[in-house]
């Protein structure tokens, strides 16, 4: 079997864009210890602007390119300025903030004075020479990529190795504190690195855009980012050469696989395998680097704790809970069917957010693929409903979610946070492309078919069953069913929080070494976090399937998982009531004010950034403050004996 040269050229072109992206990711990670999810999007802004300038304003290509590269640099620098406010925060929070910025940048590309008039016009390219390999015709854009990408890499290498700025960046990457003492202006160097990454990203996007019909609105999808992340991980987030070569190699592999297997689903599976193997093989190098991100905690600075041991506060809490309870029970009386459906959806997302709260808020493991676990629950439901009773399906779906969560979490038992984010992102993609889209794949090397996908990937319909003789069909009945599942789950999760499980998870998250030295079973604790979180996500999957009724493979796209992350952070990470409030905010607001994509992005992207910057306690923090204030009104000002209010930066303590 010989591979046609055209396939290799195709792979090379693909790989060059992966490699360039990976360079930028490694650059930022080395200088700032941030996994920058906004990296690709910075370039997209520049590329969209280029199309606007050339097509709509008829600016000459080269001046326009210079302007756009400057915009890329500016966007990179601006990103850094926003993130700098978070540099004393845990690295993982900064990483989540980059997700918010990514969505913000996406919004910018939709603005009328940025977005080109003709979205489907070909992307401007300065040369007009295509070429032919075999029977495959390559466009001028491909020629451009093949010429410019290697030149960019050489220029980047020269800058980094030879220029004094490059030296300063390398010094900072090795040891920021020493670099500062040696007279390097760390802040300026850091900004410079981000600007350089911005330029790199702009070049990547400008090179990669031609030939993609709707490259503008598509943004750089999660697939592209995931490949670049895989390349960066293979390079252990340190070596530029390895990152670039790995990116090119991944492109070649992908192209050859696609030619061989003809199925995107299998290709995705293999690529996910490569990612996992890369992680496992590189674990040692990934661990040996400076470990800021491993030492730091999720600490949100301001604790979202309410006043303790105060009768008035306790009364306020009880009254609030009771009112909420009565409210949600009475609500269906005043809701029409479509509204009842929307509120049920909020309940479902609250379940998912609570599940992520356990994993991310308590155990400190960031999952960017949580919706894949929900999808697993939905598949179980779609396959079993009508055959088995709901009360059997619920725990089965929970166990399915648990099992997947634990398997995907296995690498995370040895390395933390950052890398789990990448594998879970891979899981989200794998689930959508490979698993859900293939109803009954054949197990490799056997003749067995296992039905793990949706019965009909294009449109699966789930009939609502009955429970205890009550038909769950009507919207209002469904409302009460989901409410019951949510209420029970909240009771159980609250018990986990107050009766020991949460404190062990927090201890392991905050200081694994000390917890182990004290005798806490670290592995067991982590596996438990994944299993518990996965179980609830599986339950949520059942509710999701029953509420939504009709769904398809693309319902479970990776953006949904990002939405869940946004939810728990806006709600107040680690707080159960925060998770519920986050779902209310992110699902409820679009439902109330129109559910356009733009509203969705504004509520999540901008909201996320603002919350991280200005309201670290999230909505839960706001709720607690409101409750405290109400208690204050009831009781009068707080007496001085209750000084342990867990206020941030409590007064300098008196030694006694």
């Amino acid at each position: 079997m010989s591979i046609p040269a055209a396939v290799l050229v195709q792979g090379l072109i693909l790989g060059l864009s992966y490699g360039l992206l990976a360079l930028g990711l490694v650059l930022i990670y080395r200088t700032s210890r941030v996994l920058n999810f906004a990296h690709g999007q910075i370039g997209v802004v520049a590329a969209v602007l280029l199309a606007k300038l050339v097509d709509d304003f008829h600016v000459d290509y080269w001046p326009a390119v210079v302007l756009c590269l400057a915009v890329g640099a500016g966007a990179g620098g601006a990103t850094e300025l926003v993130l700098r406010r978070l540099y004393h925060r845990p690295r993982l929070i900064v990483m989540v903030a980059t997700i918010g910025l990514e969505q913000l940048l996406f919004l910018i590309t939709l603005l009328p004075f940025v977005s080109p008039k003709h979205l489907f016009a070909p992307f401007p390219v300065p040369i007009h020479t295509g070429f032919t390999v075999g029977v495959e015709r390559f466009l001028p854009g491909d020629t451009f990529m093949l010429i410019v990408a290697p030149l960019t890499v050489v220029a980047f290498a020269l800058f980094f190795l030879r220029s004094p700025y490059g030296l300063a960046m390398r010094a900072m990457a090795e040891n920021g504190e020493s670099a500062r003492l040696a007279g390097i202006w760390v802040k300026r160097t850091s900004t410079l690195a981000w600007m350089l990454a911005g330029v790199l990203s702009a070049i990547t996007a400008i090179l990669a855009s031609p030939g993609k019909a709707n490259a503008f609105s598509q943004a750089l999808g999660p697939e592209l980012l995931l490949r670049a992340l895989a390349a960066a991980l293979i390079a252990a987030m340190t070596s530029f050469t390895v990152a670039f070569v790995a990116g090119v190699a991944l492109g070649l592999i992908e192209s050859v696989l696609l030619w061989n297997l003809h199925q995107a689903s299998t290709v995705e599976l293999v690529m996910f395998g490569i990612l996992l193997v890369a992680l496992v093989v590189r674990i040692r190098s990934l661990r040996s680097g400076p470990r800021d991100e491993e030492r730091s905690t999720w600490a949100f600075g301001a604790a979202a704790a309410r006043i303790r041991g105060d009768d008035a506060r306790e009364r306020v809490r009880r009254v609030g809970l009771a009112l909420t309870g009565v409210g949600v029970l009475a609500l269906p009386a005043v809701l029409d069917n479509s509204r009842a459906f929307l509120v049920s959806r909020i309940f479902v997302f609250a379940l998912i957010a609570v599940s992520l709260t356990i994993l991310t808020g308590w155990a400190g493991q960031l999952s960017l693929g949580h919706f894949a676990l929900v999808a697993a629950g939905a598949v179980v439901t779609a396959r079993l409903v009508g055959h088995w009773p709901v009360l059997v399906i619920l725990p089965l779906a929970g166990l399915a979610g648990s099992a997947i969560a634990v398997v995907v979490g296995l690498p995370a038992l040895r390395i933390r946070g950052l890398y789990l984010a990448v594998t879970t992102l891979g899981l989200a993609l794998l689930m959508q492309v490979s698993v859900l889209g293939t109803p009954c794949p054949r197990l490799p090397l056997t003749n067995w078919h296992v039905c793990t996908g949706l019965p009909d990937p294009a449109s699966t319909l789930v009939h609502r069953p009955s429970l205890f003789g009550i038909d769950l069909g009507p919207q209002r009945t469904m409302y009460y069913f989901v409410l019951a599942v949510l209420a029970l789950t909240l009771l159980v999760v609250r018990a986990w929080r107050d009766r020991g499980i949460a404190r062990d998870l927090l201890a392991v998250r905050d200081n694994e070494t000390t917890a182990a030295a004290m005798g806490i079973r670290v592995m067991r604790t982590k596996v438990m976090a994944f299993a518990l979180s996965g179980f609830i996500a599986g339950l949520a999957g059942v509710c999701f399937a029953l509420v939504t009724q009709r769904f398809q493979a693309s319902t479970f796209d990776p953006a949904q998982s990002i939405l869940i992350v946004t939810m728990v952070i806006i709600g107040g990470l680690g707080s159960i009531e925060g998770a519920v409030l986050g779902a209310l905010y992110l699902i409820g607001i679009p439902a109330a004010f129109g559910s356009g994509t733009t509203v969705q992005f504004i509520t999540s992207g901008v909201g996320l950034t603002l919350f991280i910057l200005f309201l670290p306690g999230g909505l839960a923090g706001v709720l607690h403050r409101v409750g405290d204030a109400a208690a204050g009104v009831l009781r009068g000002p707080l007496s001085t004996t209750s000084w342990w209010t867990a206020a941030p930066g409590a007064e300098a303590e008196a030694e006694g």
């Binding site: 018990a495 905050d510 917890a515 182990a516 004290m518 438990m528």
Partner: protein
Amino acid sequence: MTTTEGAARLEVRDLVVGFGGLCAIDGLSVAFRPGTITGILGPNGSGKTTLLDSISGQVRPTSGMVSLDGEDLIDYLPEDRAALGVVRSFQDCRLYPELTVEDTLMVAEDARRPVGILGPTLRLPAARRAEVAKRQGVDGLVGSFGLEPFRHRRVDQLSTGTRRVVDLAAIVAARPRLLLLDEPTAGIAQREAEALAPLLATLHRQTGATVLIVEHDVPMTVSLCDSLVVMEAGQVVSAGPTSEVLSDPAAIEAYLGASQEALARSGEVASRPAGRDL
């Protein structure tokens, strides 16, 4: 693995620990009698903390043996060693920044009596009883260590000195048979350090454990310890009862010399022995 009561007998034999090309511990053998309190002294980089790390399991030795009551610990995880009664404190004493003092102590209790999943999920009476018992234990500790004012404070809001006290309380909760303390006075004020010495003595009496202390405060160590081990460059220079080590020329040459000068220094600067750098 069986947990026996009382102080543990620790023996380290031919221990070698290497990090890349560097040999942090180079063929070290030393034994500690049960129930004693031993100070480990030595200049920076002599391998003191690495010795503790290899005993409690944070570092995997290149070769050699660490045996507790005759049982080789080398293949055990830190958690397994803790289950046998090997408990340690860390120099940075970070503990769990986001937990309250009370929860920190509860976690120490959890290590001996794991929480489990079903108990809290189904609100089983047994789980509630276990929780109540743990909380009573914590009440006792909070009282005896004077931590009541800090009970609901988060650990990252405490001074280093108070965190040390919390750490010691957690150690008592973990019921050590072999206790490893890594520079308990590091990073705390002189006044707090002086208050710590009697506390450590009480801790030793209460737990009845074999205690190893790595410390730079020589006067405190000498007053506290039955025996001393002086290390240099990953090897034992001198070991034995405190009085003998204090008069051992090798020990003075390696480490104690400078300290004794410092103690004896009165106005004039004593001349340093040849071969010692500043």
